[in-house]
Symmetry: D3
Subunit: 282 residues, 6 copies
């Protein structure tokens, strides 16, 4: 009985957080290892289902680089990149869509298994992510785009009716062409268009580290700029930090980079006072 009472106490500790966030909306981006490790994905699906049940709206955005590369290699196509962007011809796009769609279905299935009501979406669905093609340094890299506008209506409706949209990062141009877009950017733009309370980027690191490799708990715009300038934030971390900053500048209350390989990272971030990872505020 004592153990049971202990459990009841834990539930009650969550009370103030549930109260704070009930009716709010979180956009959570997952990618990299979190997606490929079955265990992490299961825990993630559970966390998402719980959030939704306690009244918090959740939209999931996922990447899928490793899966895409694997499929391309299986097809005998060598993945090509230019300035970190995947050079995407028609055939490549086909495999990109296949790999992402497949991953998307898996995430949807898992969340449903834990009692959520997930629905997979891509930017094509009701043309909800309008993108324009980009040509970095003037170079044609094919069907690659950046988000021009998110039509939040479909997504919002689904959220309002209790569903959990799970969105894969492709967009559609004004001409109706599908394009490959960056998942971090997509998540950030979706969060802004939905006036989300939080954007959470699940990666496989613990957040931003400072010069002496100490974990940074909280950053504002100015600090981010300085760290970028001083090169403390570098490489793969740059787009994630920029997505976080873009979100809060666009009106999202807080964004977070957290380590998705930590067990139940999402719940820990939300239901504990300190949270984990690095938070970004405007």
């Amino acid at each position: 009985m004592k153990e049971l009472i202990e459990k009841a106490r834990v539930l009650l500790e969550a009370l103030p957080y549930i109260r704070t966030f009930a009716g709010k909306l979180f956009v959570i981006k997952i990618g990299g290892k979190v997606l490929t490790s079955g265990e992490n994905l299961h825990q993630f699906a559970q966390d998402v289902a719980l959030l939704r049940l306690v009244g918090i709206g959740v939209v999931v955005v996922h990447g899928g680089g490793p899966e895409i590369n694997k499929l391309l290699e299986r097809m005998g196509k060598k993945p090509k990149f230019f300035q970190g962007l995947r050079v995407t011809d028609n055939e490549t796009l086909k495999y990109v869509e296949m790999a992402l769609a497949r991953l998307n279905m898996e995430i949807v299935r898992l969340i449903n298994q834990y009692g959520g009501r997930a629905i997979g979406l891509s930017g094509n669905d009701s043309a909800c992510i309008i993108a324009r093609k980009i040509a970095p340094k003037g170079k044609d890299i094919g069907l690659v785009g950046e988000v021009e506008r998110v039509d939040a209506e479909v997504i919002q409706r689904l959220v309002r009716e209790g569903f959990i949209p799970v969105i894969m990062p492709t967009g559609v141009t004004h001409n109706g062409e599908a394009v490959n877009i960056n998942a971090d950017e997509a998540a950030s733009k979706i969060a802004v268009s939905l006036k989300a309370e939080k954007l959470m980027m699940l990666t496989d690191v613990d957040g931003v580290l400072d010069k002496r490799s100490r974990h940074v708990h909280s950053m504002n715009r100015r600090k981010v700029r300085r760290y970028l300038k001083e090169g403390i934030i570098a490489e793969g971390m740059i787009p994630k930090v920029q997505a976080c900053l873009g979100a809060v500048e666009g009106g999202v209350t807080k964004s977070h980079i957290i380590n998705g390989t930590v067990e139940h990272a999402v719940l820990l971030e939300i239901f504990t006072r300190e949270g984990i990872g690095t938070e970004f505020i405007a």
Copy 2:
């Protein structure tokens, strides 16, 4: 961190129960010691606030016998009973209403403090509990009634809009006279009229005991009848058991007698597999 993860796991254990009961309605009756012990009442208020936040509708019905007696004595009136029913003249009713109203406000305040949105009601409000006077064995015992009809509309509306109605047990006759009614009976009739999923009677015992004083986990109609006949259920337990039975016969899925002096009794009953106390099914 490990401890935090452990807490996340506890939260997730509640997932299937939240899923099962979300959108359902529970009527919870509290009385006796649970009401008079500050600590129990605080825990009760927390439990109720949590249930509401995770999407479960809650209606609280409370008694107040000890408080009434205390006030009557303070006023120099000796409480009188006939067959367990309070003999209630006009002046007595006045003090009954005062004592109950005061208790009601305290419960409302506590639940609000823990983030619920409680609203106090009596059977007078929009005449939601219509009662008829009773005269046991033909004896006039004054302003004492039994529930004739519960007008669930007001209560239901409040529940649907996220409020937690806290109801004190007085009714109103067709002539507009206020009458004292039994809280157990009121809770049972309210549960039936609201088509509640559960009726929970919080007492200060662990439920029904069998002949050898062993705790009985579950009873159906037949078993209840036999126990009553054999005198195993006796005295103060009789009205509680009858209220429970009446509820399930009226369409409530399950009713429960549980020990409200156990810490977080309500959560334990709902969020653990076995539950505590005795459950009644049709």
Copy 3:
């Protein structure tokens, strides 16, 4: 038949007033003798029920000073005041709540009897009246507060669904403590928060009198200021006049001080051209 036709004509005289006020909201404050005289209260309840039936929203706010004093005395506690405010220790507050709650139930019952659908509320209900404690001239007078904010949502919802909220004047602080508040002030603040059309203060005098003791029909802000300065408005009339002025300054179209001991005072004020009492405009 002639008499009947005469009656039909009277009904039709009310037509333009019903048309003007249908869908609008009136806040009516009753106190003093109106509350304690059974006959006046019955007539008041009838008037309120009629207003609601012809499509006018009504919120009742009531005081209860005499009832509170009577109960305190019965309890052997001598009522204490400082600058017109009741010094309120914990025990006093308990009796304040008891007396007010009891009065509240009576008003609710009467209105229901005449076909209204009244629901009793206090400032605790869903914490709809947030108050802060006051200490006049730095003196601690206990659990006495002034209105900080009225959360109109609950009240508005009830009005919209055809109910008649009857509100007793207690508030709740941010710490969840109950406090005694002034009924005139509460009525004024509630009227403002509900964007009421009218605030009607039912007292036992005919309104404001001028220097020569002639009845004043209508006053604006300037005139009120002058009368206050010149001491023409004095004593018990001051808080009532200030409540009326505060209401119209807060956006209420008109407020009125009328004599509630006049038979059907509320109907007379509304359904006759001249009205009775003194009206206040911005």
Copy 4:
């Protein structure tokens, strides 16, 4: 002041009737002298506006025989009848529609002037009265029909939104041809299709008289049949009585034949205990 209070009392006498009928629907048919006397029509319009303001739904159906005859004569066409039905060629129908439409507009204008929100309708509007042609004794009498079906949807919507539909008695056949229909029959069928509480037929007599010319207050089906058989109900009264009987047989609670030339006949019928005229129950 005394006189004013007397008026307030009259208003309050109406309270129980308003309570009983609020939200219900009345269909009122006017014809004959009531329509042609300016004074009667003004009083009728006032009564209707008042009913609507106190929450009672009203649908007006009107005839217009005298007006039609007058126009036909002005046009040099002699009105022709066969078995009480107007023989209606194409040109006649044109003048029937003109005369009725003009009358309809006048009624609408008057009700609006007294604060109602009346809207004129004919059976053509959204084809709400479907009729089939009739040929009494096999004789072709032209564009004359009987009601086949009333499409209550349009009328109901308007009533629900607070409007007062004023309906002139023409219908439309399945072929889209306009036909002349009997106003009494139309009123009866409309009352049934709308599940009205009351059908009121305003004529210029006081209701049904018995053999000894005494006024009959109330009749049921059997009594009506007997009176018809014995010839006590005769001539122009027959279709009115049949319309009343048809209505209550079709589910209308009560129907009434009342003298519309009595001042405020409608209010008298509704807001007095005994009513005036003759009532019909199933």
Copy 5:
């Protein structure tokens, strides 16, 4: 089969226009020959029914000068005009209303026959067109008015619920008097009050011609002013052009003068790229 496929292609050509206008509202004014030719009116009714079915809101406003004159002459009254306005005494107004009402019913019936759900309205209905009397050059010409305010609520509600309001041009003054108003002006004001997408004036000419009698496709405010000044737009065309200009200045996106005697003129204007007639933009 080939022919069928050709038809399918025609349907699909309409796709982009339906897409553009779905959910928008068109006000269409018909008058003159279009109204008097049975064939034109049938085609007009079909066009209107189709527009409504593909999701475009339609409000029809009609004149009726020739019909009014015919009736007046039949009655032995000589139509009189002052500055193009009909001098309207009480009797004249009566015949104006009769003639218009009759025409109105015919239009309603025809639209209903083709599957629309038309409802006839005049400015009296719920007093939706408030007018003030005019006296050109100080001369009293009787019951003639100009539109002061259109109460769009009734019309809008009907449109929203899928009905097609067909409005005849009479208004009502603040005193409740009916007045004759100009149909072109009424259509223009109604279009503005409804925030219509288009105002279409169906006449019996092809639109505006320039100095050399060439058809003008499109005009803006400046061009209209110049043409008026130079007398290129003259006589009967002036009020039509002013109605069109008034509409676009009041917020209507485009207005059009088109030849309603051309078969299916309305569909041609909407579902072809170039349209027919003259369009007016702000």
Copy 6:
């Protein structure tokens, strides 16, 4: 101009059909050559967009056998069948999902391009198609299932809000496993669960032929049974005919097998009197 008027006439011919089907729901299944020919698919997308715009609800279900086989072969996996069912191991299912998802996105994109608002779904989304595994003749053929239940809620909501769900044929078992299901069966079950007006199966033949190879226009249950028994319906046609029959037996008004390679087959079927293909009625 003449040509334009001809076009307007064609539009108007569609009027009665639009009227009949507005607000109804059609389930359309496409597969085989219709899917792989770009031109057919474009025309199909146009037809679907038009239907939706004129107020007809549309749900698309598609197969994808050839695309799946192509992908499997590309992966070096030989497609295996048992009794016409694809033997589906885990890896095969992965490629099945990839091929179907990709096709789904293409259909969605095309419909959106023509102005529809399509949204892709699979049976996983909110677990809307619950399936159970099948083992024909006891043989384990892997992840192959039949439809147990369609949860119409999600689909219905999307249809009600104007979207066009495009559904790929996979289901999910009670254990959360994805399974391959037959597209014809899925379409039929979806049509039944949605209470559709029509099920249309687009194939590449003209419908059912009789013994003498003459086209059969209409069949009822009995005729279907006889044809099956006599072997006139054989091979690939059997499941299609059974899907059609199952639909009408389940409450769908009519089902159709039509030749989707005919230009604008869907529009021809709906907007012409005779329709094309073979229709099935209960």
